[in-house]
Amino acid sequence: MPLPYSEKVLEYFKHPKNVGKIENPDAKAKEGSPACGDMVTLYLKVDEKTKRITDIKFESFGCASNIATGSIITELAKGKTLEEAKKITWKDASEELGGLPPVKVHCSVLAVDVLKAAIEDYEERHGLVKEHVKTTKEIVLKRLKHVMNPIVGLDIVKTNIVNDVNVKEGSISVSMGIPRDNQFSKNIEEEVKERLKRLWDIKKVEVTFDEE
């Protein structure tokens, strides 16, 4: 089998740009988990006045497509305003890289998601969230699409292990269709809570498992 990667992907994989940590970042985010085989963290320095990204770095535990995508999106985002950077899509990254193999979409999407998540983190920390939309089941599900199901390596919504979501008076309860003694239940619970606790109108997040 020839390598499934374009030359550009391999070039970025060999010599990734903007890798590492930023001390005292203005914002940071993490996507994926080691259990899924891919994890990316991203750090931002943002100019408070212009809201331009002055520095950006990422770290990757992942395959070539993950590293290359992380590299390209940090290059694309550097120097852009947060609003501009928000618009960077997976398609942009893929085009810049000369295409990514379909089987690797999941690994590379992570790198795009982590940029969005870091920008959100910045906005939440700096009180920039303009419209406070009331949290609904749909909003919760959208966030849960970023939580991976390590059993299969796809998100927990797509793999149908979220049985139900209830949003009521500032608290969310998520019921999972896997037993608590599953080896990943703790991992998933932490990820779910991490994703939901920063919603502005939410005070409590509860995760339940099968037969509880």
Partner: protein, 388 residues
């Protein structure tokens, strides 16, 4: 630095020895007749003699009788024929099969297919080192148990099972015993009578023979369902024109195994392992230090992902494989490593190095340098550290 080509994927397949190819060629270009047992013509008799001689050599190598060896297209076919053949011929005797959770796919999937047909299967777990508990196996044998299929050595970690004890237990309990010896044959001692096996699968291409040739040992008197119809070939068990060049090559490959070659390969393995351990922390051995094949070394490099490692190594000319999900089409990490209790993360960072007599010490040293360099580089950009 000059790019070296270092092939360390010998558990997948090996270089076909030039001397094997030389032995095979006349059977394509000159002695190309079909082997015939009854008199037809001289070329046919000549082919038959070559076939018989190869069969004799291979039978001798595993302690079997001439009539107990049939040729197949490889270990995958041998495994399928053994498992299916015995199960279908003995349905009345019982419908329970015992196997392990780390078998090669050709055993695993053949048994899964029987499971769908109504057989019940006990999938024995393995220890951290990859071993099946002989006691557990003994306890899981019941009245309905028809077949035990436990591999001799594992394809990913090299862990060697105690097939002599398992065979003796099966023999005492009158249960058929099959072992997949694709990885161990020609590497470690193997004797079908000592291990009291009923069926054993081997292949040529893992010992510098040609691809597409294997053999199945079927204990004398054992009935299996004929696996291919259309003639009386292979003692009326597998019809079809014999692959004589391949079979001759198989026998030649066995003849070429040198008594000291395993010691040499073992030294290469130790050299690589020691060299890597000296330079890198957080490296774990997947498998066991003892009772393992000298040809396989499976290591997990914590905090890095395997596909990235092998891609970097490939760019340096080194061929190895990983148990990482990112490397597999199913996006699932190695089931063997998972069965041994490795976490997903540990399986993702696993690399299998496998050696042959054609590897050289300087290739190993080059690999040590490359691995150390690549893993250090990837750890630098990894968000996972020993502290989190």
């Amino acid at each position: 630095m000059k790019l070296k080509k270092v092939y360390l994927d010998n558990a997948a397949t090996t270089l076909c020895d030039k001397r094997v190819v030389d032995a095979m060629i006349p059977f394509y270009t000159d002695k190309y007749a079909v082997a015939s047992s009854d008199f037809s013509h001289s070329p046919g008799i000549e082919a038959k003699e070559a076939l018989d001689k190869a069969r004799e050599d291979i039978a001798n190598k595993i302690g079997a009788k001439f009539r107990e060896v049939i040729f197949t297209s490889g270990a995958t076919e041998s495994n399928n024929v053994a498992i299916n053949g015995i199960a279908m011929a003995n349905k009345k005797k019982g419908n329970h099969i015992i196997t392990s959770s780390v078998e090669h796919r050709s055993v695993k999937e053949a048994i899964e297919a029987l499971e769908k047909e109504g057989f019940t299967v006990t999938w024995l777990p393995v220890s951290k080192g990859g071993f099946v508990s002989v006691d557990d196996l003994k306890k899981s044998i019941k009245k309905e148990t028809l077949l035990v299929s436990i591999q001799h050595a594992n394809q990913e970690t090299g862990t060697v099972q105690d097939i002599n004890s398992i065979g003796n237990i099966c023999h005492k309990k009158s249960v058929f015993f099959h072992t997949d010896a694709a990885l161990s044959f020609g590497r470690i001692p193997l004797d079908v009578k000592k291990a009291k096996v009923d069926l054993l699968s081997i292949t040529a291409h893992k010992i510098h023979g040609p691809k597409g040739v294997g053999a199945l040992y079927i204990r004398d008197g054992l009935g299996i369902v004929k696996c291919m119809y259309g003639g009386f070939n292979e003692f009326n068990k597998r019809a079809g024109t014999e692959n004589i060049p391949g079979i001759v090559g198989f026998a030649k490959a066995i003849e070429l195994i040198e008594p000291n070659e395993i010691k040499y390969i073992e030294k290469l393995k130790e050299r690589l392992y020691d060299g890597i351990k000296k330079e890198l922390d957080a490296v774990q051995l997947n498998g066991n230090q003892k009772d393992t094949l000298p040809t396989i070394l499976n290591l997990t490099f914590r905090f890095v992902e395997g596909e990235s490692v092998i891609l970097h190594l490939d760019m340096r000319g080194i061929a190895v494989i990983t148990g990482s999900a990112c490397f597999s089409r199913s996006l699932e990490p190695s089931y063997v490593l998972k069965a041994m209790g490795l976490s997903h993360e540990e399986a993702h960072g696993s690399i299998r190095f496998s050696f042959s007599r054609f590897n050289k010490e300087d290739e190993i040293d080059y690999t040590i340098d490359a691995v150390v360099n690549v893993v250090k580089k990837l750890r630098e950009i990894s968000p996972i550290t020993p502290d989190n």
